[in-house]
Symmetry: C2
Subunit: 263 residues, 2 copies
Amino acid sequence: MKRIMLTVSYDGTAYCGWQWQPGVPTVESVLNRELSQLLREEIQVKGASRTDSGVHALGNLCVFDTETRIPPGKICFALNQSLPADIVVQDSCEVPLHFHPRKCGSKKTYEYTIWNSRFPNPVNRRYASWIHAPLDEKRMQEAAACLVGEHDFKSFCSPRTEAETTVRRILEISVRREGCLVILRVQGTGFLYNMVRIIAGTLIQVGRGALPPERVAEILAGCDRALAGPTAPPEGLCLREIALDEDPWETLKNKAISGENPA
Amino acid sequence: MKRIMLTVSYDGTAYCGWQWQPGVPTVESVLNRELSQLLREEIQVKGASRTDSGVHALGNLCVFDTETRIPPGKICFALNQSLPADIVVQDSCEVPLHFHPRKCGSKKTYEYTIWNSRFPNPVNRRYASWIHAPLDEKRMQEAAACLVGEHDFKSFCSPRTEAETTVRRILEISVRREGCLVILRVQGTGFLYNMVRIIAGTLIQVGRGALPPERVAEILAGCDRALAGPTAPPEGLCLREIALDEDPWETLKNKAISGENPA
């Protein structure tokens, strides 16, 4: 038995998010189906990030266990042969059997892309949200700065969350403009349900002048979802990368040295 | 009677190019159909650039004549209501009746975008060509430099061209890398059939080491399509902008002053 980790990219347009749900297309169900067919075993992947319906990813991670004799690094080549064009596995490698991508330290990077112009752009309409009101990206950046650090992000979390705590740590946040594109980039150790999209929706209100930049710190302190802006639409959001804090094999080695139970 | 100019953006994926052809979807036929319906007249647009099947545009131009009383600047808003999501008119304005976007001086900017990585990227698969062999963008830039200026581009033109001359002027050409993206940007006063895609196909061969950079000058001098590389696929190509050398109303005024016939 081996545990394999996949780096998965997908165009989320056609999917009801990552997570398996009965009767609807999800990224997880496609991976389970195609892996089971390829490896002739019943495969169930465990994902690092359960992205929402319509959200994209360049580097989500997942693991699964298999008895296959296909070399770990070759699984991505074999699997991409049968996956639809909107899901591509970028890498495959073996990880220790105890390793779980949701139970290890990592830095996740999301980008929320806005096409800020009078009319939509047909060439990026699936991968950017269109906001026609002019946005002041410097105001947005100013407003975003207060979110860096460890905070209770209850105001920026869907009330439907099942998380035990709404405290999370944002490591970096930036808003930049490239022509008509305004790009919000957020790095953190973990995110709540809808968190990046609610941050984006709130910063859009700041950018268009509907909220003063200093209001965002008050919204954060208020710990009330009703204070923040709307949840920005999913097509602008992309999970760019999940960088593990430590190589899973190093973690295993260090735990063995310290006598810790790896599981 | 008024002549209206439209700035047209489109995702070319679903279209057999710009130009009207019987029985197949083209950008021109959609515009003719929707404009005729909106303005209740038989409308036939004249385009500046007849982009190929599958090629995209952010700023193609076209003109048409109309008796409508809709203010010229409002036509884009009305038209976008009925256009499909993959065609968006970015601007509409009145131009002099004699003005034709193919018979005036302009600077056209094309970008050819390559996703240069081991596997395709599902999030840009419709708007970038995937090349898995590593590309050296500095070699490509070095090779491209000889194309700047006025030259006979017969080697970089489909033999199916109907152009009277294959001499064209390239004003600027650059190849840059942004992570896994390699972007070829070409500005010129006019382009031959398939010219940017054959330049891209040839520079890709240079970038992957199949041709030495200095070979491109020899290919140019040879004036033979068989010498150049393959025509790169259409999805990577986007007509970014057509900048008119002069405001059409200024041209009219200057011609009136000099006593020239404006037509």
